[in-house]
Amino acid sequence: MSIDFKELIKDFTNGLWAENPIIRLVIGMCPTLAVTNTASNGLAMGLATSFVLIMSEIVISIIKKLIPANVRIPSYILIIATFVTFTDYFLKAFFPGIAASLSIFIPLIVVNCLILGRQEAFASKNPTHRAIADGLGMGIGFTWVLTLLGMIRELFGMGSMFGFQLLGEWYRPMVIMVLPAGAFITLGILVGIMNQISREGK
């Protein structure tokens, strides 16, 4: 079996922009809005989701022929839930601070439509190496938007970035940016800007 590298690169870059889960497909919105009050929270959430996504894509693309078609969705959810439990216990043991600030949004990765969607649309139809490329691309695509959103909200809301104070005493933080309302508005404007960029690119 030869591996077509052009195809792999296409699978990988697909998730970064053309079919970016948040900006283009608008899925996986709950964690996107809820945990991006700081840049490091956004990054941690993105990495945790990417890990679950890649691992379950690998497992499902390996055992896809063993799963009967009419029980495939419950089987996928079980595989995803196993990796989520693993991630949750790992974070609680080694990074208790992050686990506490992400709270129930780690277990909620189970019902993130991005993960189930990629299993159904990609991993169940393609060989393992392509599934890994897709998982990596989608994972990074999800992570960079979350991190960017977290950076914007943290900068305006607290005058800092990744916990480092960037803006001096003169800056009066816009508290609204770290509150729920700020999340909706920032993401709305961000998606609008991205739409404009991709329109100009055409």
């Binding site: 839930a81 129930i104 277990p107 909620l108 019902v111 739409n195």
Partner: protein, 196 residues
Amino acid sequence: MEEFNQILLLFISTVLINNFVLIRFLGICPFLGVSKQVETAFSMGLATTFVMTLTAGATWLINTFILEALNLPFLQYVSFIIVIASLVQFVEMFIKKTSPVLYKALGIFLPLITTNCAIMGLALLIPLNGYSFIASVVFGFGAGVGFTLAIVLIAGLREKLEFGDVPEVLKGVPVTLIVAGIMAMAFMGFSGLISM
């Protein structure tokens, strides 16, 4: 009487102050996806409220009498998602048999509810908050009512937005998010209503 007051306060605070969609960010996918028309949004809200109330009771029983009793907390996520998926399936079959009219109204929304993170979030929040059985059911019902309120309100606003002069790049999702942000700001006004 004291207990009744507590339950009533829990209901009001779940619907308005800690609204599942606008304050806790649970159930954003249907909130953005199924909110183009008031009528469908209301049906979705109704179906979700129904499933949420049942889920709250069922997961409380399973968590207390099986998972905690046998010391199996690591099975929490797996068992909750199975309970929700089978409950949704059961509700779908039950409604199909007993009330074809209701099935026609809610039918297509029911499968979508399984992956609605508001339901899973509800199941996870109950053990975290340590509610009693009755409080859990009220919490589930309140969460559903709050969800319905938010989705019907945004659907009403989106129907009006159809005729508005929205910049081309903001059409669709971006403007809905911005409107939701303004709604979230309005809901923040409830935060001083009662202290719990």
